[in-house]
Symmetry: C2
Amino acid sequence: MDESIKKIALLGMGTVGGGVYEILAKQKPNMPAKIGSTLQVAKVLVRNKAKYADKVPADQLTDQWSDIIDDDSISIVVEVMGGIEPARTYIREALSKGKHVVTANKDLMATHGHELLEIAREHQCDLLFEAAVAGGIPIIRPMKQCLLGNDITEVMGIINGTTNFILTKMAEDGMEFDDALKLATDLGYAEADPTADIEGYDAGRKLAIMASIAFHSSVTFDDVYTEGISKITAKDIRYAHELGYEIKLLGLAKLTPEGIEVKVHPTMIPLQHPLAAVKDSFNAVFVHGDAVDDAMFYGRGAGALPTGSAVVGDIMDIARNMQYHCTGRIGCSCYQSLPVKKMSETRSSYYIRMKLEDRAGTLAALAGLFGSNNVSISMLLQKAKEGNTAEVVIVTYDVMEKQFMDSITVIKTMSMVKEISSIIRVHHA
Amino acid sequence: MDESIKKIALLGMGTVGGGVYEILAKQKPNMPAKIGSTLQVAKVLVRNKAKYADKVPADQLTDQWSDIIDDDSISIVVEVMGGIEPARTYIREALSKGKHVVTANKDLMATHGHELLEIAREHQCDLLFEAAVAGGIPIIRPMKQCLLGNDITEVMGIINGTTNFILTKMAEDGMEFDDALKLATDLGYAEADPTADIEGYDAGRKLAIMASIAFHSSVTFDDVYTEGISKITAKDIRYAHELGYEIKLLGLAKLTPEGIEVKVHPTMIPLQHPLAAVKDSFNAVFVHGDAVDDAMFYGRGAGALPTGSAVVGDIMDIARNMQYHCTGRIGCSCYQSLPVKKMSETRSSYYIRMKLEDRAGTLAALAGLFGSNNVSISMLLQKAKEGNTAEVVIVTYDVMEKQFMDSITVIKTMSMVKEISSIIRVHHA
């Protein structure tokens, strides 16, 4: 076997697969200089070979997994098919046979990452997944290597391009959510079924992966609290701007003495925060470490070529590791097992927009009630009046979620409260 | 020799050395879990041992290089003394004896990096220098690994915290340069002799290193055009804001068909550009690759702990590489030799603020003169009038530096031109 040629199998030829294929073809002449060997796509696994006949040479196309797993000359398997099965089985089998794996599959890594990394370790294989978080943005390797001298205490990010596009349109053009979602769908930023993006599941998966790496403790998607953006209104965004905030769908992971907080929800962040300037479909991940202080990584979180860039970077790294016989060097980094806090035990400050009966003493009664539930008010603003209804906006100080929600339960029963229009968490630091 | 203990020598115990020492002490208990071995500071080389007697145990302190270079149990040398000599000699000797080296020394790497990486290669040693560019911000490893599947065509950054602090104060508080510099000095952001920061030399060194890595072709500090910020006025910043720009000291490296452009100069960038939001002493590096599109890396570009974070990340990587016998895996990546363009051959658009005689036909004559020198005007604004003098601001389209400067030479001779008050390059994309 010619050691200077590394044979690769691509599983899947969708958006990301197409991007990987294109980049590998373009970079082929540079490979010997860049990594000391040549990467050759030996097989491309697809369901329907005919569909790709004009893009991929016939001898590369296969619809049989056995053509790949039984071919000992293939040393790197690139899984870009998505979904849990058969991806999980294929990766398990590949690693078990000593093949190295690159995957862009966040669903899989957020749920079964630990198990797969364990199999990789047993076989001294590389299992790399830079593309599974924030597309083309380098974030996993920086956390696992560059920032390894830090105790990372916080990871916070805009890690879903679809929702960031929608929120940007709402903020800049005053669009309502439904219209902005329709525009995102028309432009191809949102999928036909946008649930995973809109409800924060996609961001939750990426957050689980990043939290595991940052805190060296396994966090899975099930651990992550998720809340989507469908209830955000243009009015809330306008009010947020008046108060000096931008509304973003954030994934927030925090290490506290009592355990790990991991949550995805719409969040008001100060306009001067670097994440507030991240617009359209761009992603950004903010990391706080005890030594590095604040760092941020910004770029395209999706798309064929940006995601392909991350996948190909991983492939090239593996090829180099194979050359030096040091694969499996950087594997699972979860060397501890920390508890994950319940959402009700996490802390935040809150923005509440509500409609009150417009009569003397209402605000005092409301403030009193929050106070008696140990919720301190940092700001209370009377906005529009309509008939005998007044619209009021309140921002609280930092409080435990359970305490806040209990106070809201009580407040809802007050006769002077006509409507709790919206509740949005506020991030100060 | 116990393979699970890696002995380190620190050369220098200044700001960065102190940060490295502190981080290594704090992370000591985590090292076995994080990298599979323990890092032990065996020696700290200083000029005056007495000065550090209360910080460093006596058996670690030495003022003799021979205590380090002749000690075969020391496998990693960490150079944080700065300057060219004796750092260069020490690193050459260390590498020649098979010791791995981490350095934070941008002056050295920007001038002699190629030579030192060559010695490292000969001895299969690691020579890592993440801290030499943009302090704590991971940028070298991301470019050398994560983005290796890209043809990087542009690197652009705010890579000097002192000047960014000064420009931020000028922009936000309307301070003039001298006052902002004084504030920076008082707060410890600027050194007693601020020349290297103010004149762009520091940024130029970092840019040379980044350009070499991005374009796989050796660029040294001598290749970089540098222009500082001392001529920038609060008025220009105010006018820039009116036109929709922020003024930043940028390092710009660009790959063109005719060669590499590398320049450091004050630059107007659009207010909505991610770099425009980078304030105070923060740094950020913007990278454009053909696959990843735009990516940005943001964080603290200086300081004991942020820079120490990058140094310790490198040390831990080396320890892991030693464990797997794969040091020297990623060395010099300059596999081609591209020409560097002369400044006069680079292109830009320009902002010019000037004082003209205030009479009919002046603007037309001026526009005509630019036109006859092939400089197209994109914007021409009449600002303040004073007596029979009018202040005029012009923004040109993209033009070759030489052509623009030639036209300025001619314009200066016109009797109606009282003063060319300032010329600032404008970056559009």
